[in-house]
Symmetry: C2
Subunit: 471 residues, 2 copies
């Protein structure tokens, strides 16, 4: 973030928190320059930016004043989803690929992307760790680091569980090619074609794609946009469909950003244990919390070994390195063996480099910076959504991660918006990607993992216009 | 290889080629020292080694003489396998894992291993390529190098196809986590549970494990230990079982070492094309040829896009890096999409490093050294098998790769030998691992990818003794 952007964000934060109220005058350029020890031109740039973002306006020969609408935020969605309760085969994969392929080009505004801006990661430091491990790689490690994986990396992962008070032995951990492989190994270990699986509504589209590929049936369970999956509804679905597995994101769920409280995680684990149903827990966003401490996974409450906890470094540290892991509880041997017959093992020098970085290179310092950047960006995007989208729009305010979920006023059609936006070089993730039943036609997911620059601001304005036109 | 070992190998080669015949006297130590420009003590060490290997004997105050039995080699197997022609579900995976897990410890003599000695690979040079690419990694490459993969790496792979006169566009190539992932993606793209697949008899155990996991049925086709799969038998199996795919190794097949001639590869491709059956071609050993040129894959004869050619750098260049690829013909989109829902993509810095190595670092020079080492080791192991195994043993002499396939005189039981050998710290791969019908109980596969040192020689002697005891 440049100096003037930091200053603008500082002022915007004061407005959001109510320290500056609508009608208040900002410090004069001279005062601000002295107070923040920056040049007058930096202050000018910051104030121009705030004006462009609709937070302040200037009065000739008087100064800058906070706008009346500056603190308006679109309301949050309040109602849980209402899927029809059926178990169904999944047919969403082609739609997902069409949307993703239309958003792959480098010059597309990546509001539909699943990735954070790669500039937010310490790729040079990781590169140095990779460089020093690669040149001195023990040739025998090409055999020793076979699945379940590099011993030091697994120890480092076990130590991070310990930071949260959890006892997960490094013996239980299997290193994978990202969390997606971990999730695939888990679902494959406990289901066969035709089995039914409990998922959230809406749920991450890749989950649905995996179910489709494996010919599994999806049972979409009502999910609250802030509080997560509805356990009473889940219990009813279990009684009706006898599912073979439950596949959830318990923290900062993609796409809603919902998190289960610790009490609800405990209740979830107990409910599933009573029915002997394995839980596949996708927990890739846990490190991206905005609050005071990392939320626990449901795994923390597991007494039966039925929770398979999947995560990775792709979202928190090392995008593109493809290092994930799973702590599969009682399914550890099955999961490791499935890996041995699918991808055999995970890149040996890459595993060693991650292990080295985790030992020495300040992962937590990086995480603090990353969380702060993401929290700031979320606030900026929420402001922009309020400025540009039609009234009646609702938007989530997740306590972590980098997605916003928008409910547009009906009859807005997210698939139409997506297609028109794609022609204008803007990607979004339309709601029906996240549902086996193709629900959420009036919803979309926005990525706020990239800086809100002028081009993105303009893209959000365009999306707001498209939302009005299709509504 | 140390100096004295090289000299010993030079003499052993002369014996094998008949330049030195049984009863011939070796050069005196003084003569040999002068002729080879090495010290007398190096010559002594070389002659001791040849004596220990049973190729020569010394006569007091006279010198060293070639043994009568020095050039004896066990005969090759001559008969194709005779599977029963049924299509059957596969239940071999537990056996395979038991055998592999008993041979994982670092101090086991790795005659059952699937890997070459990692010291034979240019890991330091690769490490330097990885170091320089990792430190300067373009953050955007973490998105750009998503599946199908790094553009420069795919170009380098396409260029290697061109060296063999083949036209495979870089657009067709999908980079994978090793060949095993490529093979999994291919078989998954063209089959569903219950379908039948043509395989060799014997065939690579990982193939059988994949079929078992995917609930596919195996049709084992008679296969000649030198000439490969029997096409007439394959045609009959097609008529009887209507298989959905054929999965073969056309060059230096694991475990037999058999290769199809170019004419037979062409006939194979035409036969399968007539029946619209996709061919999944596992070609990981092609670069390890001992002859004058790299054998073509069956893919070279494909006109219909039905051949999915899978290979990797794991056996030829970079074990542990997990970089493979597939050129999937008409199935390119399906294969890439399957990858996007299973492991998403392949490690970005690792892909970039391989691309850089292939551009600059003398892959072909390394391959020449590797081939020479493997050919030499094969000859040494063949000698040792002749010395130690009971008469009646037959052993293959593949023209590439690093496996020997032994037929022991019945009623030798390879599973019993394997268990006893494991207790003595020696691994082997018993025949029944390579067959859905658990045939080949009197056969075993030996890895000759590691130096034949005294410990290995002793392990082979032990195996020969166990073969006698169980016969």
């Amino acid at each position: 973030m440049k100096l003037y952007e930091a200053l603008a964000e500082d002022v915007a934060g004061s407005i959001r928190q109510g320290l500056l109220k609508p009608g208040d005058r900002l410090l004069s350029v001279r005062q601000a320059s002295a107070a923040h020890r920056v040049s007058p031109s930096t202050v000018f740039q910051a104030y121009y930016l705030l004006e462009a973002r609709g937070l302040v306006h200037s009065r000739p020969r008087s100064g800058y004043y906070v706008n009346a609408a500056a603190v308006a935020r679109a309301p949050e969605p309040e109602l849980p989803s209402q899927p029809d309760g059926e178990s169904r085969s999944v047919e969403v994969s082609d739609l997902v690929f069409q949307v993703l392929e239309s958003s792959m080009a480098r010059d597309v505004v990546p509001l539909g992307s699943a990735f954070v801006d790669p500039e937010l990661f310490p790729l040079r430091q990781l590169g140095r760790a990779l460089a020093s491990t690669a040149v001195h790689l023990d040739p025998r490690s090409t055999v020793d680091d076979l699945t379940p994986g590099n011993a030091e990396l697994r120890r480092q992962i076990a130590l991070r569980y310990r930071l949260g008070g959890m006892q997960v032995g490094s013996d239980e951990i299997v290193v994978t090619n990202g969390a997606l492989e971990a999730l695939n190994l888990c679902i494959g270990a406990v289901t066969g074609p035709g089995d039914a699986v409990l998922v959230e509504s809406p749920c991450f589209y890749a989950t649905l794609q995996v179910l489709q590929r494996l010919r599994l049936r999806a049972i979409e369970v009502p999910t609250h946009p802030r509080e997560g999956i509805d356990l009473a509804a889940m219990e009813a679905a279990i009684a009706r469909h006898a599912p073979k597995a439950c596949w959830l994101m318990t923290n900062f769920q993609n796409p809603l950003g919902a998190s289960l409280s610790s009490e609800r995680k405990r209740a979830l684990v107990e409910l599933l244990a009573r029915h002997r149903i394995p839980l596949i827990e996708d927990d890739v966003y846990a490190e991206l919390y905005f609050g005071h401490e990392r939320p626990l996974p449901a795994k923390a409450f597991d007494r039966e070994g039925l929770v398979m906890h999947c995560s990775s470094f792709s979202k928190s540290l090392a995008p593109g390195y493809r290092i994930g892991w799973v702590a599969p509880g009682r399914f550890a041997q099955q999961v490791a063996r499935r890996k041995l017959t699918t991808t055999l093992n995970t890149s040996v020098p890459t595993q060693a480099a991650l292990a080295k970085y985790l030992q020495h290179s300040g992962f937590d310092r990086h995480l603090r910076r990353l969380r702060k950047a993401l929290a700031t960006q979320q606030a900026q995007y929420l402001d922009a959504v309020a400025r540009h989208f039609p009234s009646g729009t609702r938007v989530t305010r997740p306590a972590g991660g980098y997605f916003l979920w928008l409910e547009l006023p009906p009859p807005a059609d997210a698939l139409v918006i997506q297609q028109r936006a794609a022609q204008l070089g803007i990607s979004i993730a339309p709601g029906p990607m996240f549902s086996a039943g193709r629900s959420f036609g009036h919803c979309l997911r926005l990525n706020c993992g990239h800086r809100l620059d002028a081009r993105t601001e303009s893209a959000l304005a365009t999306l707001g216009r498209l939302a009005r036109e299709t509504a």
